[in-house]
């Protein structure tokens, strides 16, 4: 067991975070020098590659420092790798789109890096206060990013909606942390776990209220029904590469923190099992049912991301190491194919006169057969067909539910997957069988965008054909955490 009061101040533990922050400032400075400002994306990519490198260096390290405020374990490192690689792909994806829409600014890259740093802070701690701070470091840049297209009314609206819901959620979270602090006398999860029953017996009302408020706060952030109403609006209004980022990075960060809090810190709090059962079922059902009638691709993917959050909540109902590794597996798969799907949408939207409407996909099968095929692969992965990683993600998740006796949950989950097939296949059908309503210019590939498509496609199919390698990774990721 890690010594959780370790006072050691070891900055090596924070190497990826510090490196990202420094690079974000470099981007800000360089972005305003007239001769070199074209290099900002390159610097951002260098920052993210560095953070990725430092994170991989930390793999297998088990330590805790800064008076227990920072803990460096494989679980956090696994998530750090997810964050830095997904941001890396976003940066590559974004450049051309931002240019085309005339909203490329150096602040964009700096905000992405700072937000990624916030996610790393969130994943890297077992202290509620530090989690709150990480969440805010992540969220405040996200509000700005959602409203980045200042002249676009849609983007303005997305930004302000995200901001209001985010700040509202933070207030709930903070009140919850205050209540937990009042009842447990600490905000350190490991100490809460050590005295869990004592705290619960002595301050049951205060402590339960605190747990409930924390759940509401994070429910808003990762979009659990009934706190999901902002997601479709923000996803539709924000510039598409930024939406791609929203749908993977912050979701993974929220998941990491929720896993730490609810499957480690408050794992013994018994009402949570039933609560998560209900939340999982309504979240996946509402997401899928509302997605059925969407005619905008970004909005469709937004509802699909709500449904995927619902599938991930299955792991919270089940609990235990196997469920945690299954949900991390699912998250990695989801990151790959969701980012890929958004990459295709971004490419389509880069054609002039397009606005991510489903009709604009029509005729893609004849005009750009490769892109149509790639889109089809991602849609199959999202709906969970083999041999994609989407199938194995769902398979592991629902099989842990069955093994632990949650038959109905697994049945409802599988039925929901069948419902979701309808709207994912509708996209493929539109691409291949509908005739184009208007002629658009053909889709052009740049090296960066091609690289993003290649990596996401490789991951989706590669881990789909050889899921065991990824499974080994997720199993060793949770080893430390239990």
């Amino acid at each position: 067991m890690i010594d959780y009061t370790s006072a050691g101040i070891d900055f090596g533990m924070l190497a990826p975070e510090i490196y990202l922050l420094v690079m974000a400032f470099v981007v800000l400075v360089v972005g305003h020098l007239r001769k070199v400002h074209d290099w900002t994306p390159v610097i951002a990519i260098a920052g993210l590659l560095g953070a990725l490198y430092f994170s991989i260096q930390q793999w297998g390290n088990q330590s805790s420092g800064f008076f227990g405020m920072v803990s460096c374990d494989s679980f956090g490192v696994a998530f750090k790798i997810i964050f830095s690689s997904s941001t890396l792909l976003t940066v590559m994806l974004a450049r051309r789109y931002m240019r085309k829409k005339m909203i490329e600014r150096p602040e964009f890259y700096a905000l992405l890096l700072i937000s990624t740093m916030g996610m790393m802070v969130m994943a890297n701690t077992t202290d509620l206060v530090v989690m709150f701070l990480g969440l805010e470091i992540m969220s405040v840049p996200l509000y700005v990013l959602a409203g980045l297209a200042r002249r676009s009314l849609q983007s303005n609206e997305a930004g302000i909606k995200y901001f209001i819901m985010g700040a509202f959620a933070s207030a709930f979270l903070l009140m919850g942390i205050a209540f937990v602090f009042g009842s447990a006398e600490t905000t350190e999860l490991r100490r809460i776990v050590a005295n869990f029953n004592f705290i619960l017996n002595n301050h049951s009302v205060l402590f339960s209220a605190g747990i409930g408020l924390i759940l509401i706060g994070f429910g808003f952030k990762i979009g659990i029904v009934p706190f999901h109403s902002w997601i479709p609006d923000v996803y539709q209004g924000a510039p598409t590469p930024i939406t791609a980022f929203f749908s993977v990075g912050p979701k993974a960060a929220g998941l990491a923190v929720l896993l730490r809090i609810f499957l480690y810190g408050f794992a013994e709090f018994s009402p949570l099992t039933n609560l998560f059962w209900i939340l999982a079922v309504i979240t996946m059902t509402v997401g899928n049912v509302f997605a059925l009638r969407q005619s905008n691709l970004k909005r469709l993917l937004a509802y699909s991301s709500i449904a995927h959050a619902g599938y991930m909540l299955v792991a919270f109902t089940v609990g235990g190491g196997q469920a945690i590794s299954a949900v991390i597996f699912y998250m990695i798969g989801y990151t790959l194919f969701n980012l890929g799907a958004f990459a295709v949408v971004t490419m389509l939207e880069t054609r002039s006169g397009c606005s991510s409407d489903l009709k604009e996909v029509a005729g893609l099968g004849t005009t750009s057969p490769y892109l149509a095929a790639i889109l089809a692969v991602f849609m199959f992965a999202l709906s969970g067909f083999p041999p994609t990683v989407g199938f194995f993600g769902k398979f592991y998740l629902f099989s842990t539910a069955v093994e632990n006796g949650f038959y109905w949950l697994a049945i409802i989950g599988v039925m929901n997957s069948f419902v979701s097939v309808y709207y994912y296949l509708k996209v493929i059908k539109t691409a291949y069988f509908d005739s184009a309503s208007a002629t658009f210019e053909s889709v052009s590939y740049t090296p960066a965008v091609t690289f993003v498509l290649f990596i996401t496609l490789l991951g989706t199919l590669g881990f789909g054909l050889f899921p065991s390698s990824l499974m080994e990774f997720t199993k060793s990721a949770i080893f430390a955490f239990l």
Binding site: V129, F132, L133, E136, V140, Y143, V144, G147, R150, R151, L153, Q154, N156, E157, A158, G159, I160, K161, F163, I164, A167, F168, S170, A171, F172, L174, M175, I177, A178, F179, F181, G182, E185, T186, T187, P232, D233, Q236, G237
Partner: protein, 100 residues
């Protein structure tokens, strides 16, 4: 000495007022004020707990929260100004481009 429950009741009432304000207010600026009220309710609870438990953690946490609230307010007000420039209104009922 005032018992801790009194402080807690005030904090919870403030938090409730803030929540109601966010839900029923139509003006973004008022909405921000209500969110700030909620954050300060949490601050009051933290200070009260910290004082009654005789642990300094809560006091330190309040400063962090104040910083976060300031950062949020800066971003929020900047957004309100952008929106006002684009459509000369900050009434939340007019944010209806993105729907269903």
């Amino acid at each position: 000495m005032v018992p801790i429950s009194a402080y807690l009741i005030v904090a919870v009432v403030l938090f409730g007022i803030g929540t109601m304000g966010v839900l029923i207010s139509r003006n973004i600026i008022v909405l921000f004020m209500c969110v700030e009220l909620m954050l300060n309710a949490a601050n009051l609870a933290l200070i009260a707990f910290s004082r009654s438990l005789n642990i300094m953690d809560g006091h330190a946490f309040v400063f962090l929260v104040l910083t976060v609230a300031a950062a949020e307010a800066a971003v929020g007000l900047a957004m309100v100004i952008t929106i006002y420039n684009n459509r000369e209104s900050i009434n939340i009922d007019r944010f209806n481009i993105l729907k269903w």
